[in-house]
Amino acid sequence: MKKYKKPSLFLLVICMFILPFLLNSYWLDVLTLVLFYVVLTQGLNIVVGYTGLLDLGYAAFFAVGAYTTAILMTTFHWSFWLTLPVAFLFAAIAGVIIGTPTLRLRSDYLAIVTLGFGEIVKILATNLEITGSASGIYGIPRPAIGSYIMASQKDFYFLILIVAIISIIAVYRLGHSRIGRAWVYIREDEDAAEAMGINRIKLKLLSYATGAVIGSFAGSIFAVKMSAIAPLSFSFLQSVMILLAVVLGGLGSIPGVVIGAALVIILPELLRGVEDWRYLIFGVSLVIMMIFRPQGIWPTKNNTEDVDDIETEDPNQSISISK
């Protein structure tokens, strides 16, 4: 099984690069949206999946990226590529600002505070002049590579595909480093992690900031792809849909989260005609998932090689006492 993993992943990436030449423009758009969600869910996966912090305002970071790029490109005429590091910086700062007060909160309070922050960001975007108030910012220029101006549907598909691949690799590598493990230790048992010499405050903030940067990356590209952005794209419902994708796929699981992103976007397209039912179906499926399969469609394995019949394996090893 394991030996086929690399070649099949490689094949999948090749397919993703060929796909736009086979699809009509409608499905290409859907697929582009799926890739946006792949990036967003990978970012949220760090916060919720790895570190176990429920964030209900994640769309705020998507907004920070989109607005930073939009404002810098329209008002200050910056090049798209130069806006990216600024957007990352702002997103990381926003992550720390939102993260700091929530550090000592219990998980349910944390959820509501992040929700509150998410709403505050939306209200700011709706009311400030620099963000174009309720109508948002339009006429965002197209990005250029040298003299080539990216304008076609395919250009943006490839751009977001590359970013999606980068973010998957980044999240995978982080997950297999001492930083990623520390996040998981915090999720599993905060006090024990602290006792093992892990500074939970520092690492939680790092988790927020890293997740925020990935979210803002998607936001920046979203701004130039749509060439117009408005507060509506960054609502609570957006945060919930991203969270839904992560939960459906499997918290902490990279392939699971990719599948979750695809489901959340493609499913409603298949349910056309009953569009009104979309969010109802999502709501009900969240409840059903949590009751019957809380680990998600493709759960993470945490590298364990457990056999099911452990109890019977060596009976004389120890007496287990439940305390």
Binding site: V48, G52, L54, L56, P101, T102, R104, L105, R106, S107, D108, Y109, A111, I112, V113, L115, G116, F117, E119, I120, I123, L124, T126, N127, F236, V240, L243, V247, L251, D276, W277, R278, Y279, L280, F282, G283, V284, S285, L286, V287, M290, I291, P294
Partner: protein
């Protein structure tokens, strides 16, 4: 000075709504430590069920509904929504009582989405005009016009809260609730039917929220399937303000928040009032999570 009292009265009415909804949050949180995200939507369902009942009752759009008819609509709606609250607990939350907190929170979000969008399918996405018009006349007090409707709502809210206070303090069920909040395991060992008391708590929470729902429908004149989201969040703010799990605190928190918000709106304009409420929420959760009336917790590093 007149303006001051006018704003104060507005704040009191809105605050009463917040209080009624906050009670449901605080009771459920107190008893099973669940942040019931869907609670604000029960308020919305209350407004819609009241809307339907009013329309059915009178056939003429409810304009001529008398006080008696209105009373029947209120009680009918509150009972229906109360049972809905119980049903939600039974189906969605009870199987997860022992699950990780993250799971049950996500479930609550799922329930909230389900309630909102099934209402959208059932009643439509557009704003509905409430089929009742209350007389605008009232009395002059300290140079301020207070309508009978406003007075009625404040009085009704006060009665409901008083009733709840008596129920919790005087009845065996209230005693059981307080006991479960302290130690669920001990209660079931002592023969208290814990599930039934939890169900009852959900019933009462939904019952009160539905009352607030109809009142706000009448007060504002229009309703919408998303009306429960923001107000739910604010009612939660009120519950936190008063000290979550604390009944009197929730009542007080709602009124304080309503009045603060009314003055905030007056001085800063309507578009910023939500920022004020969420700002208060965040400040309290971070610096005084036990609220105004809450006890001090042990210091940990």
């Amino acid at each position: 000075m007149e303006i001051f009292f006018q704003v104060l009265i507005d704040g009191l009415v809105i605050g009463a709504f917040y209080s009624l909804i906050a009670l449901g949050y605080t009771m459920v949180y107190g008893i099973i430590k669940l942040l019931n995200f869907a609670h604000g939507d029960l308020y919305m369902i209350g407004a819609f069920v009241g809307f339907t009942l009013l329309s059915l009752f009178t056939g003429d759009g409810g304009v001529n509904t008398g006080i008696l008819g209105l009373g029947v609509v209120f009680i009918g709606t509150m009972i229906i929504v109360g049972f809905l609250g119980m049903g939600i607990e039974r189906i969605a939350y009870r199987p997860l009582l022992l699950a990780p907190r993250l799971s049950i929170l996500i479930t609550a979000i799922g329930v909230s989405l389900s309630l909102e969008y099934s209402s959208m399918i059932g009643w439509g996405a557009s704003y509905k005009v409430y089929p009742i018009k209350l007389p605008n006349d009232g009395i002059q007090l300290l140079g301020t016009q207070i309508s009978f409707a406003q007075m009625g709502m404040i009085v009704l809210s006060a009665l409901l809260m008083l009733g709840l206070r008596l129920f919790i303090d005087k009845t065996i069920y209230g005693k059981a609730m307080r006991a479960i909040a302290l130690d669920q395991t001990a209660c079931s060992l002592m023969g208290v039917n814990v599930h039934r008391i939890i169900a009852l708590t959900f019933f009462i929470g939904a019952f009160l929220a539905a009352g607030a729902g109809i009142m706000s429908g009448i007060y504002y004149g229009t309703i919408n399937f998303l009306m429960g989201f923001t107000i739910g969040l604010k009612a939660f703010t009120a519950a936190v303000l008063g000290g979550i799990g604390n009944i009197t605190g929730a009542m007080l928190g709602g009124l304080v928040l309503g009045i603060l918000e009314a003055f905030g709106t007056f001085y800063m304009g309507g578009s910023w009032k939500d920022v004020l409420a969420f700002g208060i929420l965040i400040l309290f959760l971070v610096f005084k999570p036990t609220g105004i009336l809450g006890a001090k917790e042990m210091e940990r590093m």
